[in-house]
Amino acid sequence: MRVTNGAKIAAASALLALAVAACGGGSSSPGASGSADTPVRVYISEPQNDLIGGNTGESGGAEVLKALYAGLVDYNDKAEPQLEIAESIEHDATNTNWTIKIKPGYTWSDGTPVTAQNFVDAWNFTANSANAQQLGSYFSIVKGYDALNPADPDEDGPKTAPPATTKTLEGLKVVDDSTFTVELTHPFSGFETALGYSAFFPLPKAAFGADGKLVAAESTSPITNGPFKIAKPYKRGTDQTISVTRNDSFKGGKAKVANIDYKIYTDPETAYNDLLAGNLDVMDTLPASQVANAKATFGNRYIEGPSSGVGWLGFNIKTGGVYATNPELRKAISMSIDRKTITQTVFSGTRTAADDNISPLIPGYRQGACGEACNYDPAAAKQLWESNGGSAVKEVTLSYNADGGHKEWIEAVANNLRTNLGVAVTPKPYEKFAAILDDLGAKKVQGAFRLAWLMDWPLPDDYLRPVFGTGGSSNYVQYSNKQFDELLNKGDAAPTLDEAIKFYQQADDLALKDLAYVPIYFYQLNAAYSQNVKNVKLDPFEALDVLNIEKA
């Protein structure tokens, strides 16, 4: 029976090959205890663009930027601004003219000092739409933005915009190496708070080539001014790890760990398994399916808290069906939604029931601001619905984009409405969120659609103006309330932040009364970390506090 033996040998050698391979690779993996230099490994999704402040508007890139760059201001635990590079940020009585002084001693990773010119250069570059920086429109509040970006006279039509006559923002002036002034187009009391957003980060002189564009090296190994610097060039689209190493000359404090590896994952479930196995140290967005397990497994290494995200159902209040245009019917719909049960069951606790348009994380949030409109009361809802002619409504549509995991909660809301209001409901999936916007533009959306918003900076105006303000960038419902806009403007012109917040809250009350967007849920932060690290904190933007994390 030689052949059978042969088969045995073949099988045995295959096993042997496995064993040898297993031994061969063993030496390369670091031990669990880890020396001081083994990097802390942090989960991120792949950054969308190069690691440049003005071009980073999503969480994966923002997480890395937090380690690489320092801005004029940073935020404390209460999401209030505190000066970082800025020595002082002063404004005149109108809140339109701002003078910013920067501290000496901050340097770029190429050794040059951080100057006022670096901020002005970066802002001019970002604001210029010819440079296609995603956050360019944030500079529309600075005087001269329109001259830099002339409008297309017929939008999508055959005519093109006239060429810009300037390459700089008129409102930015460098006074000396450590001082510059900013003139805004209108008063904005929250400008200091806004300055912590990555759109307002500086760029070094060496980042720009002779043509005024960024040099190629900026995309793989940018010159940075933060607590960490790039350890080896990062090839976006190819590399799975972004390695950063401590910048020992950083003036804002010395990080307690020497190296951080940001590991890029496509599937959070995979990252969670890596976290379980001890191959990953910090994960700031646990997959919803694992949250219950994570609580049990990680114990006090599991972090839960409010996040800045708010989710709404928006109604087509101008061209939609009768239930979308009548505020009382919108309120009835809102009251018939069992937010608590939906957030606990459908979202397994990764969301909480919303009772304001502003996240609980933000100074200015008021518990229960939404009042009875956000309370689950099926009987009252039914009564309100019927007394306002809701019985005549044939069908309610709920539009959502199918690519973002929204199907389940939209179906749950649909069931609430069917049961509590006795109305037919059709959930309508779209392929992408942009497709909903196309249909809204074409007036084809009858009813409600979902929308979520994450803050750029921690102030109520960052929620209210884009979503509810007349002509706001995410005001897809064409809500327009003069009184509301005036209150926002009053807030912007208020001498102090506290006074500004009072006006913003009054504006919020109007939005909550009109209910063009009905708040449904607040996002939760669900994070966990391994036994290798301690003192893990996440900032209001859910980015890791890189200065304070320690090896355990």
Partner: protein, 313 residues
């Protein structure tokens, strides 16, 4: 033989042009503006969108865009993604990973599939045969997705936590060859089962053939009968299967690469379709078509080597 190969390669050119054009039309016909998708839920600044649309010729007619693309490809430029990464840079890093994964899977298929098939055929009707049958049934009935996650949890996470044996990395390809064992097996699972059964059937049939009886009657050694006559003659359907499988392994690695976070072409293809990165999709599919054509050509060439009766002239 050489002329045959050249003819086949020339035939591949219209196939390639046709596929790229078809794929090009299909990806651009997908609903949703790729530029708008960059912003997620947020509406991007119109000026920003306008600059990008201009830069990527999105306002031009489809045929003109295809011409720009083909012109670029012939000068070695596969374009850039809407996120500003050159497609060739993506290729450089990612095809290697997928190739390594596909080869690992192919070798596992060949070794395990042929080995088990051989065992089952020679032990036909006995308990070994039954065991192999049961094992293959088990392999085909578990979807790769489930197999991937279960093996990742048991062999990647639990084995390390419970025994301290760090043999199979959970994710990524940082550990070299070791990183490919588990994903390679998951990818190969279904094919191992098919190949085992194919080998068994094919071999059982050949072993019944007259020429095998003749060979045995001549007093030839059992090893020689099996090696020179039985195995060689049963290999043709197996090679056909393996050749066709290489193509599907390269393209079918989407699930496996996502579960194990391997930065390969399958994962990239899925993400690119999702993000409407049209240039990447067209580029990857073109290369995959090329791989498919070449693999099938090699298979056809092997026929002639295995079976002297087959000639290509």
């Amino acid at each position: 033989m050489g002329r045959y190969a050249i003819r086949r390669l020339l035939q591949a050119i219209p196939v390639l042009v046709g596929t790229t054009f078809l794929i090009f039309v299909i990806v651009y016909a997908l609903p949703g503006d790729p530029i708008a998708a960059l912003g997620g839920d947020r509406r991007l600044d119109p000026a920003y969108v306008a600059v990008l649309r201009e830069q990527f010729h999105l306002n031009d007619p489809l045929l003109l865009r295809y011409w720009y693309y083909v012109r670029g490809v012939f000068s070695g430029d596969f374009g850039t993604t809407y996120r500003g990464v050159p497609v060739t840079q993506i290729f450089q890093g990612k095809f290697g990973v997928t190739f390594q994964l596909a080869m690992t899977a192919l070798i596992m298929e060949a070794v395990i599939g042929l080995g088990l098939g051989l065992l089952a055929a020679l032990r036909r009707g006995r308990w070994e045969d039954q065991a192999v049958l049961g094992f293959t049934l088990f392999l085909v009935s578990i979807p790769p997705l489930v197999m991937g996650f279960v093996l990742q949890l048991w062999l990647g996470v639990k084995l390390k936590l419970n025994t301290g044996l760090d043999i199979f990395p959970v994710a990524g390809n940082a550990e070299g060859l070791r990183s490919y064992l588990l994903p390679g097996f998951v990818l190969a699972c279904t094919s191992i089962a098919y190949l085992t059964r194919l080998t068994r059937t094919s071999l059982v049939e050949v072993l019944r053939a007259d020429y095998i009886r003749t060979a045995v009657a001549k007093g030839m050694s059992r090893r020689r009968v099996l090696g020179r006559h039985a195995l060689r003659n049963s290999l043709i359907p197996l090679i056909t299967y393996l050749g066709a499988d290489l193509g599907s392994l390269m393209g079918g690695a989407v699930i496996t690469e996502t579960i194990f976070n391997l930065p390969g072409i399958g994962q990239q293809l899925f993400n690119s379709v999702y993000l409407r990165e049209n240039t990447v999709v067209v580029g990857i599919v073109t290369v995959l078509v090329l791989v498919y054509i070449l693999a099938n050509l090699v298979v056809d060439m092997l026929y002639a080597v295995l079976d002297p009766r087959i000639r290509y002239e």
